[in-house]
Amino acid sequence: MAGELTAVEAGELQQKANQLRKDILTMIARAGSGHPGGSLSIVDILAVLYYKVMRLRPQEPLWPERDRFVLSKGHACPALYAVLADKGFFPREYLARLRQLGSPLQGHPDMRKTPGVDFSTGSLGQGLSAANGMALAARLQEASWRVYVVLGDGEIQEGQVWEAAMSAAHYGLSNLIAFLDYNGLQIDGTVREIMCPEPLAEKWRAFGWHVLEIDGHDHAAILEAVRRSQLENHRPSMIIARTIKGKGVSFMEDQVSWHGKAPSEELLQNALRELEGGRNNGR
């Protein structure tokens, strides 16, 4: 079926994801601050979207017919910057200037400063509403582009997310496909302890969404979920992606302490060696 990856493609994608992880850790370590945990948990989703799904023109970032991407959990932008650089939206050298004064790569996504960023986010809970606006725009223009969104599992504690969940279903935005990065951790602890979102799939279904639950690090599963969601014709899709915060780096995995701090040079080298060693080649 359309969602399947050949063995060669699967290997290439895995390599890409591995490289993105290295870029993320390197840029955050250089910046001396940033959010590694939630950036690493969305890498595989972004890899599938940017290398296998989205229609883009890196040389023409504002191409009107492009698919849109909204990173509602804006703090995970190192993952987005890594993939945009690799796609050629801007020079890789930009990555070394993350979070520095005058840098095109801000601490949270800025659509006015970074080529390829379709919407400015950072204050949590706002991305889905903007994505809905884009999806309505595509419909008004009778255009075929789609809108992809990534939300955080802590982020959905914001009430605006549920306002947007209601309106996306009300307006039948089948050209909108959202991911929930369900890594289970937020700054103060586990999502279940802080403000339990369960039953999660039932909530989105009850709001009128097409809901799928997948392993958010399984490229084939991500691709298949997107292809299935693209077949929807009257409701938006929510792909609940079970992920591991800090995925790919043993000492960061499932550790809430790595939500928002940079690794030291020594830990960075350890992490890069792990990734170099291909610990993540194949699951």
């Binding site: 006015r112 706002q126 991305g127 889905l128 509403s129 606006g133 008004l140 209601m166 309106s167």
Partner: protein, 313 residues
């Protein structure tokens, strides 16, 4: 020709005209389309009208997404909700990315009347004024409201348009040119300068005409654009008169009075009095009684002028 009309009615009318000319115009409302007067647009262009339900935060974000895709959205609700309930969305989803969203807020000020203090926005100008990239239009009458709505489309970026609930008299000569950022001199005078905005322009003119009978010559300036402020005009009149009075249906903190005081404090300190709501919330009542109760009439302006001239002489 009507001689009295609410600025919100003019907005509804202008929207339909704009909608006919420009397919990029889309309108969003939060379950108040009858009151904000966007219902006429909804009737004529149902495909380009989105009722977002009672969810102002989502409405602002959706408007931002439409603007990011090339449309020119007008988002409407009451002033308290547009600027208070959805402040973070206006800040982060609209102003921070400088998106082309027009926020047309009705029911601003205390002339909302009977609904009371919960619904009377006396702080909306202050909230919008601190946001970088935001243009603030505050028309004095219905004719000017129509001009302001049309002018907002020509501004590339976020615009806040402050509209009111009650019928107000036409006070601006219709041949007077309207330009965003340019104040309008409605009366010349050398004794005192009254700088007014919105519904208070009418009171300012009444005050000036009464004072003229006593031999006091008051200049009256209509500031329909609170941001960017017409600094040169205000400084010019501050220099040529003995003092400045500001008048607005808004808190004296952070609105027109605040903006003028900041400007003159730096460039041309002169004696000043601010007519406005004095750091309090409103309450239920008839609009006219509220204006009286909260000190927002021509008489209050005259009294402030007399005090000011006495203090400076």
């Amino acid at each position: 020709m009507v001689d009295e009309m609410a600025t919100r009615d003019a907005y509804g009318k202008a929207l339909v005209e704009l909608g006919r000319k420009d397919e990029r115009i889309v309108v969003l409302d939060a379950d108040l389309s009858g009151s904000t007067k966007t219902a006429a647009f909804a009737g004529e262009f149902p495909q380009r009208f989105f009722n977002m339900g009672i969810a102002e935060a989502d409405m602002m974000g959706t408007a931002a997404g439409l603007a990011a895709s090339g449309f020119i959205p007008f988002a409407s609700t009451f002033g308290v909700f547009a600027t208070g309930r959805a402040f973070d969305q206006v800040r982060n989803s609209i102003c921070y990315p400088r998106l082309n969203v027009k926020i047309a807020a009705t029911h601003t000020g205390i002339t909302v009347g009977e609904d009371g203090g919960s619904h009377q926005s006396v702080e909306d100008i202050a909230l919008m004024r601190v946001l970088p990239a935001m243009t603030i239009l505050s028309p004095a009458d219905s004719w000017q409201a129509e001009q302001a709505v049309k002018a907002a489309v020509e501004v590339d970026g976020p615009v806040y348009i402050r509209l009111g609930r009650p019928k107000v008299p036409l006070v601006i000569p219709q041949d007077m040119p309207f330009a965003v950022g340019k104040g309008q001199v409605l009366r010349e005078g050398t004794d005192i300068t009254i700088i007014a905005t919105g519904h208070m322009v009418h009171q300012a003119l009444k005050a000036a005409d009464k004072m003229a009978k006593e031999g006091l010559r008051a200049a009256v300036i209509n500031i329909h654009t609170i941001k960017p402020l017409d600094e040169e005009l205000i400084v010019f009149y501050a220099r040529q008169t003995k003092g400045v009075i500001t008048a607005e249906e808004h808190s004296i903190i952070g609105g027109l009075g605040g903006a003028v005081a900041e400007l003159l404090g730096e460039r041309c300190p002169v004696p000043m009095k601010r007519i406005g709501v004095r750091d309090s919330f409103g309450e239920s009542g008839k609009p006219a009684s509220l204006l009286q109760e909260y000190g927002l009439t021509a008489e209050h302006i005259i009294s402030a002028a007399r005090h000011l001239l006495r203090e400076t002489s």
